[in-house]
């Protein structure tokens, strides 16, 4: 389904979509307020952008540095060209451990690789441990936002789900009560897990260490109790130096949720004695995106979600309307690089207002890339309807007589056309828009009457 069709589905529940819109705007507002308490905020964004530019210009050698240093620290480094290879590596590690269960903390990359269904097919019990991710996993849904995975759900729905799955009291919608129930449920999973998987926020080339940020502490609960820690990392997550973390950790949480830093920022350098630490470096289309001069900057993304919270389209259409692992403005410039046909409507799901670029902590020119993708998609797929209307317009503007007649006709037609035709479901433009009142006469007629 296209983005507009999915969005229409989301908007059917008016009260919920209004709540979604307002809640995300509230998060955007928190980001604004906290950013204004840092006098050097704009300098930090510029630094982050320049560091990431440098990373992309030297990605190959930084990856080699990272690999060498990580191996020196006792980390086992794997490389995966795509999601399939990534998933197979995870399964091989599990099978080597004779292990049939895994606990995961938030990793958008494993969503991108469709790891969960692959492991489940091979008889592995997969448990997502971030509260929001556990909620959507129990509902057999993907996350609808990269930082707030269950933002599309109301507490009544979560209460009903937990009543069914975790045997909580029927009708108890208290978030503290529901969170406590999830704590008990997941603690049991943590205590039993032999293998834990996390994503990676930053990998440091200079030291071979990597950093994972959470507020819940679920990543740490998983990996420190398990015997084996697997970290899945997109190859663009590299940063050159340890001190660069100062810039990125100052920007990440403030941009994401308006808090000064996440409560747990864990730096993994070598495994605990007797344990294993694996890192999987995943390409899955990233090298191809790096080769696209106009779109390579999308790889600078640190996955804060600020562009989603600010986007007037995302807020009003919901994450699922994008049908892409990463939704919102950044997803709309990343996903067409992976599958242009499937994601062809996404770059059009934007007003090109530029708010996404304004809040991006690494200064990705998101709205300009949306515009560039529109051109790529139009070139590739063609657009029959628009092509025809442009040809028609071309004819009208060429002939003064045709222009005059068509103007008279349009003014008459807009007055005469029944509302049902203008605001017909087929006319997407008529949705949520009112036509202006048509003037009685054209400028030419007015001029002849008054000035000639």
């Amino acid at each position: 389904m296209s983005h507009p069709e999915n969005a229409a589905e989301f908007l059917k529940d008016h009260a919920k979509s209004k709540w979604h819109d307002e809640t995300l705007w509230f998060v955007r507002d928190k980001r604004d307020r906290i950013s204004k308490t840092i006098p050097e905020w704009e300098e930090l964004r510029e630094l982050a952008s320049q560091i990431k530019d440098n990373v992309l210009a030297n990605l190959g050698s930084y990856l080699e540095d990272f690999e060498r240093n990580a191996q020196k620290n006792g980390i086992q480094v794997h490389w995966a060209k795509d999601g399939e290879e990534h998933n197979q590596i995870v399964l091989d590690i599990l099978q080597k451990q004779n292990c049939t269960a895994i606990v995961k903390s938030k990793s958008i990359l494993t969503e991108e690789c469709h790891l969960n269904p692959f492991l489940e097919k091979h008889g592995i019990d997969v448990v997502d441990t971030d509260l929001g991710e556990r909620i959507v996993q129990l509902l057999h849904q993907p996350p609808s936002h990269i930082v707030l995975p269950a933002i599309h759900l109301k507490k009544g729905e979560i209460s009903a789900l937990f009543h069914e799955k975790l045997l909580t009291e029927k009708g108890n919608e208290d978030p503290a009560y529901l969170t406590q129930a999830a704590r008990l449920h997941l603690r049991e999973k943590f205590l039993r897990a032999k293998v834990a998987l996390t994503g990676v926020n930053f990998g440091v080339a200079e030291t071979g260490e990597f950093v994972v940020c959470t507020n819940e502490g679920n990543a740490d609960m998983g990996v420190h109790l398990a015997d084996v820690h697997i970290a899945s990392m997109g190859i663009e997550k590299i940063i050159p130096r340890r001190k660069d973390l100062g810039v990125f950790l100052r920007l990440l949480a403030r941009s994401a949720t308006g808090q000064p830093v996440t409560n747990y920022n864990s730096h993994f350098r070598s495994p605990s004695p007797g344990k294993e630490l694996h890192i999987i470096l995943v390409d899955n289309g990233r090298a191809a995106q790096l080769a696209r001069e106009k779109f390579k900057n999308s790889l600078k993304c640190i996955r804060c979600g600020a562009c989603m919270n600010t986007c007037p389209i995302y807020r009003r259409s919901g994450g699922f309307s994008y049908d892409s692992t990463v939704p919102g403005p950044i997803g709309s410039i990343l996903s067409p690089g992976l599958d242009m046909k499937k994601h062809s409507t996404l770059p059009f799901a934007s007003t090109l207002c530029g708010s996404c670029s304004d809040v991006c902590p690494v200064k990705i020119n998101i709205h300009e890339q949306l515009f560039e993708w529109r051109q790529e998609i139009t070139k590739t797929h063609g657009e029959m309807g628009k092509g025809l209307s442009m040809k028609l317009a071309n004819g009208i503007f060429k002939s003064p007589l045709a222009y005059k007649i068509s103007g008279n006709l349009m003014r008459a037609a807009l007055k005469a056309l029944p509302e049902s035709l203008i605001y017909h479901p087929i006319n997407a433009w008529g949705k949520g828009r009112n036509l202006p009142e048509t003037p009685k006469e054209s400028f030419r007629q007015w001029y002849q009457k008054n000035r000639s």
């Binding site: 190959g60 990856l63 609960m221 420190h224 949720t257």
Partner: protein
């Protein structure tokens, strides 16, 4: 060719314009360091206690299982650190020394040498971190300057208790990790 070589060859075949790696200025914070740090911890839903306040709170809290690795409160332990972190399942309180704290956001740095077991500050029901007020730095930049080239298998900035807002954006303290953080400033 292996996937590693495939990926690296593909990347190295892309003509990329050189980009300079910028130097990072030493940004500071305005205001008094200790007060800024205290406000940051409170904002993160932690508490800040003096040594005297902590000493009066601890016996009243009546924890049956306490592990203290703090050099300031060695006598507070009621059990020894086990070898297997799973035995910490019902630990009531952990008391640890933090190396330094960051005023701008309340983040406190701890390494393997402070933690005993990496799971300790997460699995414990309540956490106390003891911090010398002379070990406060302004921002994360000074924080990483302070860590410099130190090598630890694991290091963590802890800035508050475990929290979540995944249910309708309502803030709930105590998701998976410690349900409270008390910082004792000495």
């Amino acid at each position: 060719m292996s996937s590693r070589d495939n990926i690296l060859t593909a990347i190295k075949g892309i003509p990329l314009e050189p980009k300079v790696l910028p130097e990072i200025p030493d940004f500071g914070v305005q205001g008094e360091l200790t007060e800024t740090f205290i406000q940051s911890i409170l904002g993160n839903k932690g508490e800040v206690l003096s040594k005297v306040e902590f000493e009066s709170w601890l016996p009243k809290a009546k924890f049956s299982k306490v592990i203290s690795l703090s050099s300031h409160f060695p006598e507070a332990s009621t059990l020894a650190l086990p070898e297997d972190p799973h035995e910490l399942e019902d630990l009531g309180l952990a008391i640890l020394d933090g190396q330094f704290g960051v005023a701008e956001n309340g983040a406190i740095w701890l390494e393997d040498s402070n933690l005993g077991l990496r799971a300790l500050p997460f699995i414990t029901e309540h956490l106390v971190i003891v911090l010398d007020r002379r070990n406060l730095v302004e921002t994360m930049h000074q924080g990483y300057n302070r860590i410099a080239d130190a090598v630890s298998g694991f290091g963590v900035f802890i800035a508050g208790p475990s929290k979540t807002a995944d249910i309708e954006q309502s803030l709930v303290i105590g998701a998976h990790g410690a349900k409270s953080l008390r910082v004792v400033l000495i």
